[in-house]
C-alpha cells in the first residue's frame, strides 16, 4: 500500500509552496483583481522557466515528464496560492487536448511552445448557459473556417490558441484549433464573480482552423475528466488554505475574554470543514492515481474527485469568511478572493449536478460490467 505522493513529489510540493508563497502574494493577485493586468506575466514566465507547464508532457515535446501525479502536486499548490496565471487553461485543457488528440505535426509545433510558456492555450466548449452537452454546440466549421460564439472561455482574452468545440459540415462534433490573434476573432472580456481569472466571450467569424483528428466529443470528455482531477487538487489546496486561515484567526481573535476558537460553534464548524477537505483530498488522490496510470476508473474517479472537492472548497471558503466575521468581509482581507475562486472553480468545468450525474453513470457502467 503506497497511497501517497513519493519523496520526489513531496520535494516538488515544497519547492512549489516556497515559490508561490514568495511570488503569489496578495499584492500581486490584487493587481489582476483590480484589472491592472489580465494575469501575472512575470509569474507565468518564472513558472514556465521551472518547467511546470510541461510537468506532464513527455520529454520529446520539451516536457519535464514528471507525469500527471506530479502535475497534481503543482495543482494543489497553485490552488492554495490563488496563482493569477492561465495555468489551468493552457496546461490542463489545451495541452492535454493536444496530447490526447493532436496530430503529430500539431504536437511538434505547439507543445514545445506551450511548455515554454510562449503560447498560452485554452479550450472553448461552452456557448452560454448550461453544462457540457453536444446538443448545445452551434459553432460550426465549414470549409476550414470557424463561425460561432463561445462563452465563457477561460483566459479567452489572453490566450494565443484555442481548441474550440464545434460541428463540422456533417454535424459531427469536432475540436478545431484556432489561432486567436488574427482577423475574424472578436474577444470580449467578461465580468465574473472572480476577476482574478480572466474570462472572455469569443466570437469567431470565418476564422481558419485546423480540425483535430478523432471524435471531438469523446476527446472533450477525456480532457474534462483529466482537468477535473487537476482542478480538484486546486480546490483541495484552496480549501486547506481557507481552513488554515480560519484556524489561525480563531486562535488569535478573542471575544468574551477567550479565543473564538475555544467556542464549540467555531470548533465544530472548522471540524466539519476539515472532514470535507480530507474526504476531498482522498478522492482527489484516487483521481491522481487513475490519471497517473491511465486507469479505466478515471471517469468515476474524476467525477468523484470533482464533486467532493467542489463541496469542500465552497464550504471552506464561505465558512472562512464566517469565522472571520465582519473583518472577513472587507475588501482588504483576502477571504473574499478564496470565496470568489472557490465558486469559479466549481463552475468552470460544468457545475456539480452534471458531475454528480457522471458519478452515477460511471457506477452504472461499472456495475453492468
Amino acid at each position: 500500500m503506497n497511497f501517497d505522493f513519493s519523496e520526489e513529489q513531496h520535494q516538488l510540493r515544497d519547492q512549489a509552496r516556497r515559490f508561490l508563497t514568495e511570488h503569489s502574494t496578495s499584492k500581486r493577485i490584487r493587481q489582476v483583481l483590480d484589472g491592472v493586468a489580465p494575469y501575472d506575466r512575470a509569474m507565468w514566465q518564472e513558472i514556465a522557466a521551472m518547467g511546470w507547464l510541461g510537468a506532464a508532457v513527455p520529454e520529446e515535446y520539451g516536457g519535464a515528464g514528471l507525469g500527471h501525479v506530479g502535475l497534481c502536486v503543482l495543482a494543489e499548490e497553485l490552488g492554495r496560492a490563488l496563482a493569477p496565471v492561465p495555468f489551468s487553461s493552457s496546461v490542463y485543457l489545451a495541452t492535454e487536448a493536444l496530447l490526447l488528440a493532436g496530430s503529430e505535426a500539431q504536437k511538434d509545433e505547439l507543445l514545445p511552445k506551450l511548455v515554454a510558456g510562449d503560447l498560452i492555450g485554452t479550450l472553448a466548449w461552452a456557448e452560454g448557459t448550461g453544462n457540457p452537452d453536444p446538443a448545445r454546440i452551434k459553432a460550426r466549421v465549414s470549409g476550414g473556417k470557424l463561425t460561432g460564439v463561445k462563452w465563457p472561455v477561460a483566459d479567452g482574452g489572453l490566450a494565443d490558441i484555442a481548441i474550440v468545440v464545434a460541428r463540422d459540415e456533417t454535424d459531427r462534433i469536432v475540436l478545431a484549433l484556432a489561432r486567436l490573434g488574427g482577423a475574424g476573432v472578436h474577444p470580449e472580456a467578461l465580468n465574473t464573480v472572480d476577476p482574478t481569472r480572466e474570462q472572455a466571450k469569443l466570437s469567431f467569424d470565418g476564422v481558419p482552423v485546423e480540425v483535430l483528428p478523432g471524435d471531438g466529443w469523446e476527446t472533450l470528455i477525456q480532457v474534462l475528466d483529466r482537468a477535473a482531477v487537476l482542478i480538484a487538487f486546486e480546490q483541495v489546496g484552496l480549501a486547506q488554505k481557507c481552513l488554515d486561515m480560519a484556524v489561525a484567526f480563531a486562535m488569535e481573535r478573542h471575544a468574551f475574554g477567550r479565543p473564538i476558537g475555544s467556542f464549540q460553534a467555531i470548533k465544530h464548524k472548522l471540524a466539519d470543514v476539515y472532514v470535507a477537505t480530507e474526504l476531498a483530498r482522498s478522492n482527489a488522490y484516487f483521481g491522481a492515481w487513475a490519471l497517473g496510470v491511465g486507469a479505466a476508473e478515471l471517469p468515476l474517479a474524476a467525477a468523484s474527485a470533482r464533486v467532493s472537492a467542489t463541496e469542500a472548497a465552497w464550504l471552506a471558503a464561505k465558512e472562512n469568511i464566517q469565522t472571520h466575521g465582519g473583518i472577513g468581509f472587507t475588501w482588504e482581507m483576502d477571504c473574499h478572493l478564496y470565496y470568489r475562486r472557490a465558486k469559479l472553480l466549481g463552475l468552470t468545468l460544468g457545475s456539480a449536478p452534471w458531475w454528480k450525474d457522471r458519478v452515477v453513470a460511471a457506477l452504472e457502467t461499472r456495475n453492468a460490467a
Binding site: 461552452a126 448557459t129 484567526f249 478573542h254 470565496y339 465558486k343 460544468g350 457545475s351
Partner: protein
C-alpha cells in the same frame, strides 16, 4: 384565523396608502432591494420625504404624543412598513436615528436636550448615527476599547469605531466608550451623544468584499465632548447601550432577493438536458425546500403581527428571521449559479439571466450571515432567550478589562 385588519388598523392603512400615493413612487418590478448608497441628491430627497411623512403624522407612531407621536401599538408601525414596501422610498437615512438614537435620548437626555434634538430628528432636518462596533469587538459588543478621559467638564475621546452606517451624512451620533479600563468589561463604559462635525473625527468608507461600500470606519483623535452630553451615569454605559439595542427596528418584510420566486423564474428561463430546468426533479426539490422556508418565515411574521395586533410584545423568536434568510440567500445564490453551468460565473447584466441578480447575491450574501448578529450569536440568542438554555461560560465577568487576554486581532 383570518388575515383581516381591525377597523382601526384598516383606517390607518388607508391613511398610509393615501399618503404614499401622494408622496412616493411605486417600486419598479425587478429592481432588487433598496439602494444603500446615499449621495447628496438621495439625502436631500430622503429629507424631503421625511418632512412630508412627519407633517402627515406618520413618524414616531408608537411614541408619546408629547413628541409628535401617536402612542399606537407596534402593529401600526408594521402596517406602515408593509405599505411602504411597495414604494421606492428613500430609506436607511433615518432608521437608525429614529429607531435607536432618539429613543435612547428620550430615556436619558434632559428635557432641554430633547426639545433641542428630537423635533429636528423627527422632521428629518438632522441625521443621527450609532457608534458601537469596534474592530476588536465584533460579536463581543461590550469589548469597547475607544477611550474617554475626563478633564474638568470635558471628555476626550480617542479610538476607532467601525461598521457605522450613515456616518458620512450624520449630524449627530451616540457612542459608547471605555471610561475606566481597570474594572471588568461591562462596568467601565460610559455613553455620550456628540456632534459628528467635531474636530478630530475622521470618517472613511469601508470597501466590502462585494466591492460595495455601505459602512464607515470612524476615527477619533482627541475629540472633545462636554460632560453634559453624557447619557446615563459614568460607568453605566452598558446599560444605556442595551436600551439602544432593544430598540432595533422590527425586521418585517425585508425578504432578501433572489428568493424562491426568482429561483422559479430562473428555472423557467434556462434549460437543462434540453428542457426547461423547472422540469428537473432535483431543481424542483430545491425550489420546494426554499419555498417552505420562505413561506414559513412569512407566516411566522404573520404570527408576530398577530401578537403585535393584540398589543403583545414580540419575543426573541423574531431573531429566527435573519438566521434563516441569510443562509437561504447564500444557498439560493449558489444554487442559481450552478443551474447556469460554467456561465454561472458571468456577472454581466446583459449576458447573465435575470440581470446577474444571483451573482451579485453570491458576493454580498456572506455579509448577511454576519451583520446584525452572526449566525452563531443568533443561535445563542435562540438557545438562551427562547429555549432557556444556560449562557456560555463567561471568563471575562470578573477580570479588569485591561487584563483580559485579547489576542492579536
Amino acid at each position: 384565523m383570518d388575515f383581516e385588519d381591525t377597523p382601526q388598523e384598516a383606517a390607518f392603512r388607508a391613511e398610509v396608502r393615501t399618503f404614499l400615493a401622494a408622496n412616493a413612487e411605486p417600486k419598479k418590478r425587478g429592481v432588487p432591494g433598496r439602494a444603500r448608497h446615499v449621495g447628496a441628491e438621495e439625502l436631500a430627497r430622503a429629507k424631503r420625504f421625511q418632512a412630508a411623512k412627519h407633517d402627515a403624522g406618520l413618524v414616531g407612531l408608537t411614541w408619546p404624543k408629547e413628541w409628535g407621536g401617536r402612542e399606537l401599538t407596534q402593529i401600526f408601525q408594521v402596517i406602515y412598513n408593509q405599505e411602504e414596501e411597495a414604494y421606492a422610498v428613500p430609506r436607511g437615512v433615518f432608521e437608525i436615528g429614529l429607531g435607536m438614537c432618539i429613543p435612547t435620548m428620550m430615556a436619558y437626555a434632559t428635557p432641554e436636550q430633547l426639545r433641542r434634538y428630537v423635533p429636528k430628528a423627527l422632521h428629518g432636518e438632522e441625521v443621527w448615527c450609532q457608534l458601537f462596533s469596534e474592530p476588536a469587538g465584533g460579536s463581543d459588543v461590550a469589548a469597547v476599547r475607544t477611550r474617554a478621559e475626563k478633564n474638568g467638564d470635558t471628555w476626550t475621546i480617542n479610538g476607532q469605531k467601525i461598521w457605522t452606517s450613515g456616518a458620512q451624512f450624520s449630524d449627530f451620533g451616540i457612542i459608547v466608550v471605555r471610561s475606566n479600563p481597570d474594572v471588568p468589561k461591562h462596568m467601565g463604559l460610559s455613553f455620550f451623544f456628540l456632534d459628528m462635525k467635531s474636530p478630530g473625527i475622521e470618517i472613511r468608507p469601508i470597501k466590502q468584499a462585494s466591492g460595495a461600500s455601505h459602512f464607515n470606519e470612524v476615527f477619533f483623535t482627541d475629540v472633545k465632548v462636554p460632560d453634559s452630553q453624557r447619557l446615563g451615569a459614568v460607568g453605566q454605559g452598558w446599560r444605556v447601550a442595551l436600551t439602544t439595542l432593544m430598540n432595533e427596528r422590527l425586521a418585517i418584510g425585508d425578504v432578501p432577493r433572489p428568493d424562491t420566486e426568482d429561483l422559479l423564474e430562473l428555472a423557467r428561463a434556462v434549460e437543462l438536458d434540453g428542457e426547461p430546468a423547472i422540469n428537473n426533479v432535483s431543481v424542483r426539490e430545491k425550489i420546494a425546500d426554499m419555498h417552505v422556508r420562505s413561506q414559513g418565515l412569512k407566516y411566522t411574521r404573520f404570527r408576530t403581527m398577530t401578537a403585535l395586533s393584540r398589543g403583545q410584545t414580540p419575543g426573541p423568536e423574531s431573531s429566527i428571521g435573519k438566521l434563516v434568510n441569510a443562509a437561504k440567500l447564500q444557498e439560493i445564490a449558489s444554487f442559481g449559479l450552478d443551474l447556469l453551468g460554467s456561465a454561472g460565473m458571468v456577472m454581466d447584466k446583459d449576458l447573465s439571466p435575470m440581470q446577474a441578480m444571483f451573482q451579485e447575491a453570491l458576493l454580498s450574501s456572506p455579509a448577511s450571515r454576519i451583520a446584525g448578529g452572526t449566525d452563531e450569536i443568533l443561535r445563542n440568542i435562540v438557545a438562551e432567550r427562547v429555549l432557556g438554555l444556560p449562557g456560555d461560560i463567561r471568563v471575562d465577568k470578573d477580570i479588569p478589562f485591561n487584563r483580559l487576554p485579547s489576542g492579536k486581532r
